[in-house]
């Protein structure tokens, strides 16, 4: 690929997809619940990166609609993370003495 094609928009979009891929890989192959929760967050950040980078074009102001979507997404992501962590805590509280599944 030509280096001149390597605009910041493409670079940041590609890094967003790379973050999504890393998160997906972690979600599948790492067994610990904390890592799975982290992985889902990393995937989310990747998607947000794609949205934010596609909002930015040369010569015009950034598109606010993807920004608003990302803000919504961040809040929803923290809600999901907190729910997952709370369930983990309750599962551990209820656990028999072996502490693991």
């Amino acid at each position: 690929m030509m280096l001149s094609q390597l605009t910041p928009e493409i670079m940041y979009s590609a890094s967003g997809i790379a973050l999504f891929g890393i998160g997906l890989l972690g979600l599948i192959i790492v067994p610990h619940i904390f890592r799975k929760i982290l992985a889902i967050n990393v995937m989310g950040v990747g998607i947000f990166m794609l949205l934010v980078s596609s909002a930015k074009r040369a010569n015009i102001d950034a598109d606010p609609v993807p920004h608003a979507m990302v803000l919504t997404g961040i809040v929803v992501a923290v809600a999901g993370t907190a729910l997952a962590l709370f369930l983990v805590k309750k599962i551990n509280d209820l656990a028999p003495s072996e502490k693991s599944q």
Partner: protein, 101 residues
Amino acid sequence: MSFSFFLDIFLIGGSLTMAWLCLFSHDLLKAITCFVCMGLFVTLMWIRLDAWDVAIAEAAIGAGLTGALLLSSRRGLKKTAAKKESGEKRSGEKKSGEQDV
């Protein structure tokens, strides 16, 4: 090859490395720290992309609050584990060598 190009490369490389470490390093505490660092890299990237609202939200909620949630959850789990362990020792019911499941 301008300065901003190298800045972009540095930020993208940093965030991807942090994402990888956060999912595949062995120590959970280190993983959570890497997650927060990734959030800070991503915040800088979004400032580069003129997304100030999103950057502030990511720093406060995405990296800050999620990191705090993960840290406190991990501490809570350790505490319950320790409590259970000490309870077992006191009642003398601990069977050695079979709690790893």
